[in-house]
Subunit: 159 residues, 2 copies
């Protein structure tokens, strides 16, 4: 987008995640990688995205170390790195939200483990395993907090 603010500069891990992934296409490519697609043409067919766009996204995902090129240079396979595989909770959480709120309870795709057992609904929990909700979650400055972040968090209305 024109004059787009560099999200990665915001002192916020969420913004950094958004900046690293790039855009929706990138996320859908990652999803396809989880599905087992590895070839340029496979992504292209699956997503129907223009080749130049796909090329650029694959490049940026490779630069971000989310995907790695394997095999020959002329016909590489794109495979998830550890960093890429670590995105599974993000994709599953997004998919489950879509299943619940955007698919009228009729999900197009079911997620299971290798034995066909269903995936549990993801929930936020504290270190004792208790569920944390929007009402009980809190945000505190961390070790990487900038002065601005500290000030901002202090200015928040205490919930």
């Amino acid at each position: 987008m024109p004059g787009k603010t560099d999200l990665s500069k915001l002192n916020c891990s969420l913004a950094r995640t958004l900046g690293a992934v790039g855009d929706w296409w990138a996320l859908l490519i990652v999803r396809d990688a989880f599905l087992g697609l590895t070839r340029f043409s496979e992504f292209q067919r699956s997503l129907g995205v223009a080749r130049n766009i796909l090329s650029a996204r694959l490049d940026s995902l490779a630069k971000a170390k989310i995907l790695a090129r394997e095999g020959t240079t002329t016909r590489p396979r794109y495979v998830l790195t550890e960093k890429g595989r670590a995105m599974l909770p993000v994709l599953v959480a997004m998919t489950q939200w879509g299943d619940t709120w955007q698919s009228k309870g009729r999900p197009p795709v079911l997620l299971t483990d290798a034995s066909g057992r269903p995936i549990e609904l993801m929930q936020v929990r504290n270190d004792a395993g208790l569920i944390v909700t929007a009402g009980t979650i809190r945000f505190r400055p961390g070790p990487g907090a900038s002065p601005d972040t500290r000030k901002f968090l202090k200015s928040l209305p205490d919930k």
Copy 2:
């Protein structure tokens, strides 16, 4: 973006989620709503986004029922709906990924519960509580699967 494909038409809950949220700005607005911001000007200051853009995003989030306008029409407060609050796992998963992979282990913000207990790292689990990884997750057609989706899933290389 120009000529942007309508992601919401892809028979995929992830794409529908992306379509509903709209873009990165929308997700950051939702994050701010979790932080407790409710006013137009608060979002504006926090994100530094142009007023017309913010206005459009708030509108589309309200249309998507993720935010609700409360109070007066002239000076509404924007608050998360149940649908919006249900996005917490998505935001936390994204934040945790950023903390781990984009913040060199020095997260700017720590997530806790109301008592200050840390949030656990989110993981994908099956219905027996066992962790499911990129290697063991599977995708099967669901009740809402289109013929295309079924064909596509069948064509995948069995992992």
